[in-house]
């Protein structure tokens, strides 16, 4: 078992290094950071000096080695625009992203599960058909369009809910939260719906499929034969057994919500990590870009690592297979 975990850990490190290398190589082609840092009238000598100071004149392998060595010690350097350690900037923006991600996950579960259950129980009702048709829209419309449509509908046309930003925030230690103010809660609604819509559809369809499957099984038939109420059968037995795979997927999806919140954050000017990253791309702020990509890779690698280990704990055959092929 230990050997298996170590092997998995080594693989994870290789993945992280690969991501770092790809990220690092890509950023050579984003543009010249120096141009974005100075005014246009800055002289050539000053620009050259700045390149020197930033270490941009060193050989690429040297820069990469330095980058990896620093990153291993959680030092991602300083943002070119903000002159602040990138790790501080990300820590500063992380609460906004996490709150948004969790709110949208809750939204997608609270709406998606009941809709899935309903469409499974009432397969032929007109409401089910509407839900299913609407969910197709949710899957096929791009996120930014949904966001813009919501902004147009609620803040602009109806004059309710704010169109951008995070509202007033309260600082508790290192954590800033918008959950404790009225404007913060209001500001959370539209971005959370925008970000959660896709997940909601996914969960609804997943619940519906699982539920239909469970409803066909023998123990449900026996339960009905024993004369249990519909309510007890549907929710006590069927739904409970449906939720296991749903929870697995929902947990996995949380990672991708955090990672891909950047479109939503950009549409709503939500001051989270995704927005930070997008602006870093525009301003060629390489330290922010690389740190963000590494962080996202880290989230995915960690989740996968945990899942792999859990599977191996549950199913010994995986361990044996891994040993056989290694």
């Amino acid at each position: 078992m230990l050997a298996f975990i170590i092997r998995r850990l080594l693989q994870a490190i290789v993945v992280m290094l690969t991501v770092a290398l790809i990220a690092f190589t890509l950023f050579r082609f984003v543009g010249d950071p120096v141009n974005m840092m100075v005014g246009i009238e800055t002289t050539a000598e000053e620009r050259a000096q700045l390149r020197q100071d930033l270490g941009l004149n060193d050989a690429i392998p040297v820069q990469f080695a330095r980058f990896v060595a620093n990153a291993a010690r959680l030092n991602f350097g300083n943002s070119y625009q903000f002159k602040t350690p990138v790790i501080d900037l990300i820590a500063d923006r992380f609460p906004a992203t996490l709150e948004l991600a969790i709110a949208s996950a809750i939204f997608s579960l609270l709406i998606g599960i009941p809709m899935g259950v309903y469409t499974a129980l009432h397969r032929r009702s007109w409401l089910s058909n509407i839900f299913l048709a609407a969910s197709l829209v949710g899957i096929s419309l791009p996120t930014f369009l949904i966001g813009i449509l919501l902004i147009f509908l609620f803040p602009v046309t109806l004059g309710v809910l704010p169109s951008f930003g995070r509202g007033d925030v309260v600082r508790i230690g290192f954590w800033t939260t918008g959950l404790l103010t009225a404007s913060g809660l209001k500001a959370l609604i539209l971005p959370a719906i925008t970000l959660g819509l896709f997940q909601m559809t996914l969960i609804m369809r997943l619940v519906r499929g699982e539920m239909l499957e469970v409803l066909r099984t023998d123990y449900i038939k026996f339960a009905r034969a024993r004369g249990l109420t519909d309510r007890a059968v549907n929710f006590g037995h069927a739904l409970k057994n449906t939720l296991v795979p749903v929870m697995t997927i929902a947990g996995l999806q949380l990672g991708s919500i955090i990672a891909f919140a950047l479109i939503t954050e950009s549409v709503f000017q939500w001051p989270g990590m995704g927005l930070l990253f997008l602006k870093a791309v525009q301003n060629v702020d390489i330290p922010i870009m690389s740190a963000y990509l590494l962080l996202v890779a880290f989230i995915f690698v960690t989740i996968n690592l945990i899942v792999d280990i859990l599977y191996a704990v549950v199913d010994p055959r995986i361990r044996i297979d891994a040993r056989a092929t290694a």
């Binding site: 984003v30 010249d32 050539a44 803040p155 004059g159 951008f164």
Partner: protein, 528 residues
């Protein structure tokens, strides 16, 4: 359930506490306010916003005329010695008195290596010398009639405050951390910055001890960045912000049709133009081998005559642009009216091309930004189509500004054969245009370092040198006119296109003063 009730209760409690003040002015801009240190970045937006907090010795009024600021008056004692008499009784926002020491300190600070505004005090080597507590002399190595032209954004900082907070040096661009002065401000101006989260939000409050008489009626100003165009427009329409800059041209009608907001359009100082590589012996991106067609004045003139700027202003810019005959806005040069754009004439253009030896035209790559100027890529597409009419095949390479400038400026080795660029003279004066666009440069950028195509004419060099030191205004204007005649009508060095319009979106409750240099000076704004 319990948690929800608790949260709701907390929300209501918080809502009761945050009662909105009557005249809060909220404004959104597409970019960030990156640093509060007024010497660290030479950028219009930063300088404009900081102009509400800091002040210079001189100011510019609503029509861009130079008026007294922290200096009550000034005189030129000798051509190389200017004397400034400082306003008395002015206090910095932390309560310290403003004196000549602060001016001398600020001048020295502007020349530090990390300063991005070294050109504010020209020529290099100028010294500020204290005469008494409220008089300062500037001693110049050679005369400069426009010494104070850029001084409304050369802000005076407090010597004691900077020294006490370790900010004697400006925030270095390659710095390891933000200095105190980059995160805090201490000016003499009408507003105080009370909260600043770089990249997110900045809050301003009126300065009760300001020496001037406030024209605004604002109690609080909140700045937020909204980079997404659609969101910025929506925030204005929904009333979440009172002011948004810029409004994309395609949204102007929609904003004007709304009940609570409108768009203020006005001429901007920036001139959008096309430039040619007139330096290399063979163009880097053309099918013409062994020679450079742009070295031939007939080819440059043919390009000029082929491009229908009126059509660009009408269709691409939706009438929000003024066609320009010069590389400078007519607002900034009194004799600009003596210049007119020649009529578009594709037949004449074809003839010129044939005379130059290109009866069937040629092929060239055009570099163009796609996120820097208003509709920049669309302008380039229109130009491409117009040049096709005279047989020139233009391969358009439009890219984000980060890539574009990396290619065409000095760091990319001026790698462009044909390009679109915009220029605003920081000093609001022709010398800046001539020095940046018409002075010869070398590969390392010495000389006219933004002269990407390296227009170069020894006669022009002489004129530029004369203009720099000519103190007589009328004579100077004539010299500038001759220089423009040479550069434009004889050498056809550039194709000036237009001055784009500012497009500020404002709530109808706001009374806004729009200055042509695009600085957001809310100390003139009022809210009803």
């Amino acid at each position: 359930m319990k948690l929800k009730t608790w949260l709701l209760a907390a929300a209501f409690a918080a809502a009761a506490l945050t009662t909105a003040s009557a005249a809060t002015f909220r404004f959104a801009f597409q970019g960030d306010l990156k640093s509060l240190d007024p010497y660290s970045l030479n950028e219009t937006f930063t300088h404009g916003v900081l102009g509400n907090v800091y002040e210079g010795l001189t100011k510019r009024d609503k029509e861009l005329k130079i008026v007294p600021g922290l200096a009550e008056r000034w005189e030129i004692i000798e051509p190389t010695r200017w004397r400034f008499y400082l306003r008395k009784g002015v206090k910095f926002q932390n309560g310290e008195d403003f004196t000549a020491d602060d001016v001398v300190f600020s001048a020295e600070r502007s020349f530090k290596p990390a300063s991005d505004i070294k050109t504010r005090i020209q020529p290099a080597g100028t010294k500020a010398v204290k005469v008494d507590d409220h008089t300062v002399d500037f001693i110049l190595p050679s005369p400069n009639p426009i010494l104070h032209y850029e001084w409304d954004t050369w802000y005076i900082m407090s010597k004691k405050w900077a020294e006490a907070n370790g900010s004697v040096e400006p925030q270095p661009q390659a710095g390891q951390q933000m200095s105190y002065a980059a995160l805090h401000a201490n000016g003499t101006g009408p507003f105080i910055i009370t909260e600043h989260q770089a990249g997110v939000k900045t809050v301003f409050k009126p300065n009760p001890n300001w020496w001037g008489k406030p024209e605004h009626n604002l109690d609080e100003v909140i700045f937020t960045t909204i980079s997404n165009d659609a969101t910025r427009v929506a925030a204005l329409l929904s009333g979440d912000v009172d002011f948004a800059d810029p409004i994309p041209l395609q949204d102007v009608d929609r904003v004007n049709a709304s009940s609570n907001a409108h768009v203020l359009q006005g001429p901007e100082l920036r001139t959008i133009f096309l430039g040619f590589d007139q330096y290399r012996d063979e163009l880097k991106s053309s099918n013409v081998k062994g020679k450079n067609p742009f070295k031939d004045v007939r080819v440059r003139k043919a390009f000029y005559l082929a491009i229908d700027e009126n059509a660009i202003a009408d269709k691409v810019m939706r009438k929000a642009a003024v066609p320009s005959a010069l590389m400078i806005s007519p607002l900034l040069f009194p004799l600009a009216k003596d210049f007119t754009r020649p009529k578009t004439d594709p037949n004449e253009a074809k003839k010129l091309l044939a005379e130059a030896g290109y009866p069937n035209g040629f092929e060239v790559t055009m570099d163009c930004p796609n996120d820097r100027y208003v509709n920049d890529e669309a302008i380039c597409q229109a130009v491409t189509a117009m040049l096709a009419r005279i047989g020139v095949k233009v391969n358009l390479l439009a890219q984000p500004k980060a890539k574009y400038f990396a290619k065409i400026l000095v760091s990319g080795g001026y790698d462009s054969s044909f390009y679109l660029l915009g220029w605003t003279p920081g000093s609001f004066d022709s010398w800046n245009v001539l020095a940046n666009m018409y002075r010869c440069r070398d590969e390392k950028g010495a000389g006219g370092n933004n002269n990407v195509g390296n227009y170069c004419n020894p006669k022009m060099e002489d004129m530029i040198k004369q203009i720099l030191v000519e103190n007589d205004a009328a004579k100077r204007d004539q010299l500038i006119k001759t220089a423009y005649q040479l550069g434009q009508e004889q050498d056809w060095g550039y194709v000036p296109l237009h001055q784009q319009a500012l497009a500020w979106g404002a709530s109808k409750k706001m009374k806004i003063v729009q200055r042509a240099d695009n600085q957001i000076l809310f100390y003139w704004f009022r809210k009803e």
